[in-house]
């Protein structure tokens, strides 16, 4: 199958490209002119053909990038909390409209648009949400969630009008090696590893390996039902369980206590101010603090019916921490306080041996 992938240097996009190449598909990575491509080496996709186009740039370039493709997998997005809401919305909604129109113009049959599990909302008491829940109300949601919901509404409507088959994968918090900036999902690991108080908070989340999400995208490109959303997650865990796993695997221990939303907001504001003064990006935001106490728990039954079998959260964390520990995303001082679990070492050296 001939596949074009937008956002190919992003967390999910790079894993989609790697999965598509591994599956033997004729793959083109669509990247912006200023995206770093040297880091493709670490993903074994350095030889993948590249087309330069921006989802917010000239339509001719985008159409040209898609020409000859049977499927476009559109992963390009801005995943951030507490940032510029207008920019988030523009990339998600305007960018997706441009992709769909360019795909139609290029004669593409099928478009896979990466959505997010958060478009289905959350529960306050720990219920698990499945694919049939329907899109959530945007009221009171963070800008990122609003942007993704509006993206999906537009995509469903526009694909129908353009005669495109549309599939919407909805990953949960995707963690793992990335060739681009850290992103909020990997940042949650770094935040805990660098938090001297080793605090956790109420609520829960569904984590998934970005590599599984990448493979699922390729699967859905071939077998997903048109017009359907597919949740792509792994296990539903409490934040305290996730932090305990990170503590064991990273060798930092904890969590020692649970903080409430108000303390978290105060900490987030402090971090934002420190980030502003120091010029370093803050790893957390007040928007994220507002999401505490909620349960972002999902059931991926629909994707499972197509053969989706994600690895466990422990395995996903082992792989992510193995990569993060050696990366510049973990400051030197934080690394000095880590004592990696044997499983992390084993994964690393087994992988190197292979």
């Amino acid at each position: 199958m001939r596949i074009a992938v937008t956002g190919a240097t992003g967390l999910i996009g790079a894993h989609v490209v790697r999965a598509a190449v591994a599956a033997g598909d004729d793959t083109t990575a669509v990247v912006r002119s200023y995206s770093r491509r040297d880091s493709f080496d670490s993903f074994d996709i350095a030889k993948t053909p590249i087309a330069v186009a921006d989802v917010l740039g000239p339509m001719a370039l985008l159409t040209n990038a898609f020409s000859g493709a049977e499927v476009v997998i559109h992963t390009a997005a801005t995943f951030a909390f507490g940032g510029d809401a207008e920019a988030l919305h523009r990339v998600a909604v305007q960018g997706t409209e441009n992709v769909l129109r360019a795909a139609a113009a290029a004669g593409v049959r099928r478009v896979v648009v990466t959505s997010s599990a958060v478009v289905f909302g959350y529960s306050s008491a720990g219920e698990v949400i499945d694919d049939d829940r329907g899109l959530a109300d945007t009221a009171g949601q963070p800008a990122y969630v609003i942007a993704k919901i509006e993206q999906d509404r537009l995509a469903l409507d526009l694909a129908d009008r353009l005669g495109l088959e549309l599939v919407l994968p909805c990953p949960t918090m995707s963690i793992g090696q990335t060739v681009s900036e850290l992103g909020p999902s990997n940042a949650l690991i770094v935040t805990y590893l660098t938090d001297p108080t080793r605090s956790t908070y109420p609520g829960g989340c569904n984590l998934v390996a970005a590599a599984d999400v990448g493979e699922a995208h390729v699967m859905l490109a071939k077998a997903g039902a048109a017009g359907a959303h597919y949740l792509l997650g792994s296990e539903n865990l409490l934040w305290s369980q996730i932090h305990a796993l990170i503590g064991v695997l990273g060798g930092v221990g904890g969590p020692h206590w649970e903080i409430g939303a108000n303390v978290a907001k105060l900490a987030a504001r402090s971090q934002t101010i420190i980030g502003l003064l120091s010029g370093r990006a803050s790893l957390s935001s007040v928007e994220q603090a507002n999401m505490m106490g909620r349960y972002y728990w999902y059931d991926h039954g629909r994707a499972a019916a197509l053969g989706y079998r994600p690895r466990s959260v422990v395995t996903a964390l082992i792989e992510a921490i193995s990569w993060l520990a050696a990366s510049p995303h973990i400051p030197r001082e934080a690394r000095t306080n880590m004592h990696l679990a044997e499983a992390v070492h084993r994964f690393r050296y087994d992988e190197l041996t292979q």
Binding site: G251, L276, L277, S278, G279, A325, A326, P331, R332, E333, R335, T336, N337, M338, H339, L340, E342, H345, R346, Y349
Partner: protein
């Protein structure tokens, strides 16, 4: 060197031939006394002893002034007067030399040539003798300083090395940290790097730096011009002066400075420079003083608390660099401050202390700056180690003077610790220790799931101490054998942050120990033995050990056996924690598990390809504190600008020339 005195002669150290440790202190109310004093101190003899075609003279001056006539530096006319005297004594050529200092980073016109021009140097003297001005940073030579020198790896000035006769001509002035400043301080200007505060005073101990210069490229003669003395407790930063009418001359720069200290009524050894240099280049007990050594009247003496505050401030990269431009009295036209923040802060402080005749405000600000430096230092030690300045040091001892048997004895001694510590109780995971004669004898063992070959390829056992937690600088000097081979001997000096780090809050100093070491590499086992033979700051009476990397199936076992006794800060000496055994055990367990846990993490990180060194290295560019503050303010303003704009009242409508006020229609 054309028959001139060899290095050690100039400082009175070990040498062949009679030592010249005389100094002349001359009352120079009469100008002709100057020539006589220099002659009596041996200047003419030095020049005459050189071959006729090798009488080029380099005169090192410190152009420290910040205004015309600033007493912190010699007047150009005074320097030219000395140049004439040199020609009269037989010099073939004379160059006046200096180099840029840290002030060139924050003030304009601070390069040598601009400063020389602004100071009134004319390139020809009243006696019609031509001379040149040179910047000692212009041409440099590598490889001058040997391994083990604090300056190893840094360049030396080619012109200073090329001088047949090297003379230090220094202004005598008061100094807030050392009490006084003379030839030794001026000798820093013989070194080429511009950021002298960082490279020669903060990254390195200034006394060690001067000692290294005296070993490798010493001056042959020193003249301290004290005809007028920059006074005031802040020395070179104040423009006040007093007439003293003194010139001091000697072939020994150390003795000249000692005489200067005595003349100013001070204990010369309160100066860190005098103290450290005299340790490295001790003077013979018998010294000859010619002239009046009675103390001058009216020289202010800083209270100990002021000296401590000044030293803390100067040692702090953050506070020292930030405040230096703010306190410096300067001519804003000749030497404008480069950064807007500095200019504003300087103006504010000048406004505050300008009419403060008694100096109370200035004193208060200095004490606050010193306290702030202490706070910042503690914060850095505890929470922000990456902003510390990584240190460079000399070895501190001559490894050639250590007999070969000492290395063999060390290995036997340390091996004998194994059965003692193996039978000690396991106090924490992998940690055993017991006390013997007040020393902690310990072992720490941990198995890492890292293949041995991969581990030892990344963690060179001969450098194992440099990879340990909180290592802030040091040096390794090979002594015998290939350090990468099966057996080698080496010497090392290393500095760690105080252990545990919180001791900094009680005045704890870095652990500074010099050691002899043996490296052994066998199949499946790499080892480093070390034994402390010196602690320059008395921070340890014992720090000996052996670290072993051993192959274990698919992994690596790291074991450390040793004995340690560190000197506690005075506060902790008040309490004998051995009276509360449980407390002692808990504190010791915490200290060792923290240190070794972090050290093992460093080893893991090395295998991952990470840099584990703390502090800012010599090759890492760092923003000046003032620039960082300016950037932060700009970011805050950018964020706040929309809110500030919204809060601002709309501009009032103005009447046009016919008296009509134009108003926009309501929405």
């Amino acid at each position: 060197m054309g028959g001139l005195a060899e290095a050690d002669d100039t400082v009175g150290g070990p040498h062949e031939g009679p030592p010249d440790v005389s100094v002349v202190i001359a009352d120079v109310a009469e100008p002709r006394n100057i020539a006589a004093a220099l002659d009596q101190a041996g200047l003419s003899g030095l020049i005459a002893a050189a071959d006729v075609d090798r009488r080029s003279v380099v005169v090192l001056v410190d152009m420290a002034g910040f205004s015309a006539g600033d007493p912190a530096q010699l007047e150009a006319a005074a320097v030219e007067q000395f140049v004439d005297l040199l020609f009269e004594a037989g010099a073939a050529s004379v160059v006046v030399a200096s180099s840029a200092d840290s002030s060139s980073l924050w003030a304009g016109n601070r390069d040598v040539y601009a400063r020389a021009e602004l100071a009134g140097y004319r390139y020809v003297t009243d006696g019609d003798n031509p001379y040149d001005i040179i910047d000692l940073g212009d041409e440099t030579r590598a490889g001058v300083f040997p391994e083990g020198s604090v300056l190893f790896g840094t360049p030396a000035s080619q012109a200073w090395l090329d001088g047949d006769l090297r003379i230090v001509l220094a202004a005598l002035r008061c100094d807030p940290a050392d009490g006084f400043s003379g030839g030794l301080r001026t000798l820093l200007s013989a070194l080429p790097l511009a950021d002298k505060t960082l490279e020669y005073c903060q990254r390195r101990d200034a006394g060690e730096v001067i000692s290294a210069v005296l070993s490798a490229m010493p001056p042959h003669f020193t003249i301290l011009d004290g005809r007028r003395i920059a006074r005031g407790l802040d020395g070179d930063q104040s423009h006040s002066e007093m007439d003293a009418g003194v010139v001091i001359a000697s072939r020994s720069i150390l003795l000249a400075d000692i005489a200067a200290g005595l003349k100013l009524g001070l204990d010369p050894y309160t100066s860190n420079l005098v103290r450290r240099v005299s340790q490295a280049h001790p003077l013979p007990a018998a010294q000859r003083f010619f002239g009046d050594l009675s103390a001058l009247e009216g020289v202010p003496v800083a209270a100990p608390i002021q000296v401590r505050a000044a030293r803390a401030r100067q040692a702090s990269r953050t506070i020292g660099d930030l405040i230096e431009p703010w306190r410096q009295e300067h001519d804003p036209v000749l030497f404008p401050l480069k950064r807007p923040l500095d200019a504003r802060a300087h103006a504010a402080i000048t406004g505050l202390v300008g009419d403060d005749v008694a100096g109370g405000w200035k004193l208060a600000l200095d004490l606050m700056a010193g306290a702030a430096a202490d706070v910042v230092r503690s914060w850095q030690f505890l929470f922000d180690k990456n902003t510390l300045v990584r240190r460079a040091v000399s070895l501190g001892f001559d490894p050639g003077a250590v007999p070969a048997s000492a290395y063999d004895d060390m290995v036997e001694e340390l091996d004998s610790l194994v059965p003692i510590v193996s039978s000690a109780p396991e106090r924490a995971d992998g940690l055993r220790w017991r006390k013997i004669n007040g020393e902690i004898v310990f072992s720490y063992i941990r198995d890492l799931a890292i293949p041995f070959d991969r581990f030892v390829a990344a963690v060179d056992v001969s450098r194992a101490i440099q990879f340990m937690s909180d290592y802030i600088g040091g040096v390794i000097v090979p002594v015998e054998g290939d350090p990468a081979g099966p057996l080698a001997r080496q010497a090392e000096r290393n500095l760690y942050l105080p252990q545990p780090n919180y001791l900094v809050l009680y005045g704890g100093q870095p652990i500074d120990v010099s050691k002899i070491e043996v490296v052994r590499r066998l199949e499946g086992s790499h080892q480093l033995y070390w034994k402390t033979i010196l602690s320059a700051n008395d921070s340890a009476t014992a720090d000996d050990g052996v670290i072993t990397f051993q192959r274990t199936g698919a992994g690596t076992r790291v074991s450390i056996v040793g004995k340690q006794a560190f000197t506690l800060p005075p506060f902790w000496k008040l309490f004998d924690i051995s009276l509360v055994p449980d407390l002692e055990i808990n504190l010791t367990n915490h200290a060792y598990t923290t240190f070794f846990g972090r050290t093992l993490a460093n080893f893991e990180a090395l295998v991952e390809g990470r840099d584990v060194a703390i502090g800012v290295g010599p090759d890492t560019p760092v923003l000046a504190p003032a620039t960082s503050i300016e950037h932060a303010v700009r970011r805050v303003v950018d964020v706040a600008e929309p809110w500030l704009t919204a809060l601002r009242p709309p501009p009032r409508a103005q009447a046009d020339e016919r008296g009509f006020v134009h108003v926009a229609p309501e929405e």
